[in-house]
């Protein structure tokens, strides 16, 4: 019988020690719910940025982050078998590949009663309940767990309604904020009741208030820390941020996350004092302008570095703003604070966008970062299975050129059509790829595109001089 030859995968280099240590966090996040199951402590499937982190932590429930697990499968290049399993059950390849991976895994685990052989880091723990997130963000956040329930019919779901107003330049959010926040708060209270029933314990409201306070301090700390990256040369870039996002989104509400960013803050200050950058010679400062990265191809950042290109700032997974600018109304109710904080965060750039004709909040954010971080070019990734993070990016770039100024852009992902279009507006190159499905990715082509983009940046820079 023919045997398969397997190539060993090398570990990726990061600029900061903190980022390098993140692997242990991720591993912990995967193993914690497995251990909790063994010890009879409650576990739940959860999505990031769903406003229920504090509630989960305050109730001592151990979350199994399904998006993280899919990302790990992708990074370890072991997602194919799970994607194929989902396809067997008629889940189309055009759906969110995080979900396909997760569903495929769940099906395999439920069919056999045990974790699939050689599951990445022990596998995805079977949850006691699942927390969907019915919100503006995306369809899969409601459909995924509902679909998973076919294979785990005994596992109940609570779906937290979380809406925020879509930007309209003739609408002042102050006119609608009350009923939006009221709705969210009611949904969160419903969540607490649901979790109390599932766990058989009561919410410790003081603990919740403390956890909320911790998250707010963590947001401020992350803000201060990330702002250090304005330095020239930048001490840390998106290559590391795709690691440091782990404590930000998966450990929100824990002391561990706060301590992590304290360490990172210290490390960055030291590097700045020593004038240490990310690349040997920092020639180009880029922004990761949108889209989720290809988790199996984070090495591409290192390739950028080898060409002198670094990413001092990114849009993706930078999901914090400083508390003093969020202007949360005075309230002692932790649920109200959570709801207000999310509302303010989600509408943060709205007033600014209203001031500039033709602008939308996402563009205001890009413009602010271009100026604050002295950005030469933008890179974006259009993963073919994530509609919500990628629809409209083409238009955004075109509009940015109109209302601000044209900036060189490299887009990985998308397809020939988008490439043709953007070539007219800004120098850009595109190929198909995805967040989890590696069969769509070509390392050879990606590297060639990066080379061509660097040439463009060099060209633009030489013209400026």
């Amino acid at each position: 019988m023919p045997k398969e030859k397997i190539k060993k995968h090398k570990k990726r280099l990061t600029a900061t020690k903190s980022a390098a240590n993140v692997a242990s966090f991720v591993k912990h996040n995967i193993e914690a719910p497995i251990a909790a199951n063994k010890e009879g402590r409650p576990t739940c499937y959860s999505f990031i940025i769903s406003s229920y982190d504090e509630i989960i932590r305050a109730m001592d429930v151990t979350p199994a982050w399904t998006e993280s697990f899919a990302g790990i499968c992708a990074a370890k290049r072991d997602s194919a078998r799970f994607l194929e399993k989902a396809e067997e059950f008629n889940f189309s390849r055009s759906l969110c590949t995080y979900a396909l991976c997760g569903l495929g895994f769940d099906i395999m685990r439920e069919q056999t009663g045990e974790m699939p052989s050689n599951s990445p880091w022990g596998g995805q723990a079977r949850p006691d309940f699942m927390l969907s997130s019915a919100q503006n963000i995306c369809d899969p956040r409601g459909k995924w767990y509902q679909a998973a329930q076919e294979f785990m019919p005994d596992v109940p779901i609570y779906n937290t309604g979380l809406q925020w107003p879509v930007f309209e330049e003739d609408v002042n959010v102050k006119d609608v904020e009350e009923y939006y926040v009221k709705y969210h708060a009611e949904e969160l209270r419903g969540l607490v009741k649901f979790m109390e029933k599932q766990t058989g314990t009561k919410m410790d409201w003081d603990k919740l208030s403390e956890t909320v306070n911790l998250v707010e301090r963590t947001w401020d700390l992350i803000w201060d820390t990330y702002e250090l990256r304005r330095a020239v040369p930048t001490p840390m870039d998106t290559g590391d941020a795709m690691n440091t996002m782990v404590p930000m989104v998966f450990l929100s509400g824990t002391q561990r996350a706060y301590d992590f960013f304290l360490e990172l803050n210290k490390e960055l200050k030291e590097k700045i004092a020593n004038n240490e950058g990310v690349a040997e010679e920092e020639k180009y400062r880029l922004m990761w302008g949108g889209g989720l990265p290809s988790w199996f191809a984070l090495n591409d950042f290192n390739y950028f570095h080898s060409k002198g290109a670094v990413f001092p700032v990114e849009i993706t997974y930078r999901i914090i703003e400083p508390m003093n600018r969020l202007n949360i109304p005075d309230t002692n109710d932790p649920i109200e604070r959570i709801a207000w904080r999310h509302f303010r965060f989600n509408t943060f750039w709205y007033e600014r966008a209203r001031q500039r004709p033709g602008s939308v909040p996402a563009l205001e954010r890009l413009i602010q970062y271009i100026e604050d971080y002295k950005i030469d070019g933008i890179v974006m990734h259009l993963a073919f299975s994530c509609r919500t993070a990628h629809l409209g990016l083409t238009w955004q770039l075109s509009q940015l050129a109109k209302i601000y100024k044209p900036i060189p852009v490299l887009i990985t992902g998308g397809d020939k059509q988008t490439r043709k279009i953007l070539k007219k507006e800004v120098p850009s190159l595109i190929m198909e790829s995805d967040i989890v499905d590696i069969s769509s990715y070509s390392e050879v082509e990606t590297r060639a595109m990066i080379d061509a983009f660097i040439d463009t940046l060099a060209d633009v820079k030489s013209k400026k001089v």
């Binding site: 759906l95 503006n136 409601g142 779906n159 409209g392």
Partner: protein, 389 residues
């Protein structure tokens, strides 16, 4: 051929006229001074738009028009039906419209709202933030959101949208829904009195007219169908087509050509949204909120699980289809969804399981939104029909 009131056509001939020149009547009304507000998807309350004095025109796509301009700003990973609507809009098909309303339906409709707004530049646009859940706080939220929409639209219309007007249009649209149901009843016989292909045309045409004219057209069509000489529809396997917006007759024609009668559906230009009624309530906004949020059974809405078993939940989620299958004596179901559709895509396995629990043979087709792909489907459909013979 332009669909105008100058047209002497009635009934099914008028249907043909309106279907082939979708929006023609609206264009004519516009030149007569009427304001036209276009909208996407079933979740936009037409009663509010009509109550403001506008004619609400539902956007339709065209499977015979390849997407070209639409490629410019709507990436290919969006629902192909939405892309077709966007492409047609860019090409000026709906340029007589004064406004555009987009609801929080699914990702393909929601995420590109700003792309529509800033590239088409309608005089007025609004996003209706429909929540995902249907009961309790979600219903209260939706009512508040609808009132925001009402306020905003009233400002644009420079007129109050009062309760009487709302009640008037609720009544008219409810009549429309009743007539649509009567039309469906004509398909219960074996063979049905009207083909599935013609049904798509009649329903699309009725959407292209103001509700009063639509009601009249439906009355005429029903009368004509009932009294016309026996059509050449034969007694063939009876199918139900299930999916999203099937607003072009081509796929239904193909399915029927392969040797079947499509006698019922669960689609967005069909039973899903053209039949559920608004219940009378003291505050008409309560009735509207309930009808649009809870009565439209679309996968984008996420309902809490019912019961403890998977089967109980399936019954709660898809029981309406099971009911239709029984009433219309269905022999098989074709699940016809568009590529890049998350709401349906995630449900195919569950829908299949539900249909199998009813011993209903079913075929799943995932397609683009383009007539050119029809040939490819013929073998699948025919093989399915051969299988259930």
């Amino acid at each position: 051929m332009v669909a105008t009131t100058g047209s002497k056509l009635k009934g099914l001939a008028r249907v043909e006229e309106c279907y082939n020149d979708y929006g023609g009547r609206a264009r004519e009304l516009k030149s007569d001074g009427k304001g036209i507000i276009s909208f996407l998807c079933a979740y936009v309350p037409t009663e509010i738009i009509a109550g403001a004095g506008f004619f609400p025109l539902r956007l339709r796509g065209n499977v015979h028009e390849p997407v070209t301009k639409g490629d410019r700003f709507l990436e290919p990973i969006a629902c192909p039906f939405v892309r077709s609507c966007y492409d047609l809009s860019l090409k000026g098909k709906y340029d007589f419209c004064d406004g555009l309303i987009i609801p929080h339906a699914c990702d393909s409709i929601t995420t590109p709202y700003h792309v529509w707004k800033y590239t088409l530049e309608p005089k007025y646009s609004h996003f209706v933030n429909v929540p995902r859940k249907t009961t309790g706080p979600s219903l209260d939220f939706f009512k508040a959101e609808l009132n925001s929409f009402r306020k905003s639209l009233a400002e644009f219309a420079k007129t109050e949208i009062n309760d009487e007007n709302l009640i008037k249009y609720i009544k008219l649209y409810n009549e429309n829904r009743t007539k649509v149901k009567q039309l469906y009843e004509l398909r219960k016989s074996d063979p049905p009195l009207v083909s599935g292909s013609d049904m798509v045309k009649i329903l699309s045409a009725s959407m292209s007219l103001p509700v009063e004219e639509s009601n009249q057209l439906l009355d005429e069509s029903i009368a004509e169908i009932k009294t016309r000489e026996r059509s050449d529809i034969k007694s063939l396997p009876r199918l139900l087509i299930m999916g999203g917006t099937v607003d072009n007759h081509d796929i239904v024609t193909l399915i029927e050509d392969c040797g079947s009668n499509v006698v019922c559906d669960s689609t967005c230009v069909g039973t899903r949204d053209l039949i559920p009624r608004v219940e009378p309530t003291d505050d008409p906004m309560d009735g509207l909120a309930k009808r649009y949020l809870d009565k439209i059974n679309c996968p984008r809405t996420q309902r809490d699980k019912v019961g403890t078993t998977f089967q109980d939940d399936l019954e709660a989620r898809f029981g309406d289809v099971g009911k239709y299958a029984k009433e219309y004596k269905i022999d098989g179901v074709i699940m016809y969804t568009y590529r890049y559709c998350d709401p349906f895509g995630f449900e195919i396995s569950a829908r299949k399981a539900y249909l199998e629990s009813l011993d209903l043979p079913n075929l799943y087709i995932e397609d683009g939104y383009f007539a050119g792909t029809m040939g490819r489907l013929r073998t699948r459909i025919q093989a399915f029909l051969e299988m259930i013979e």
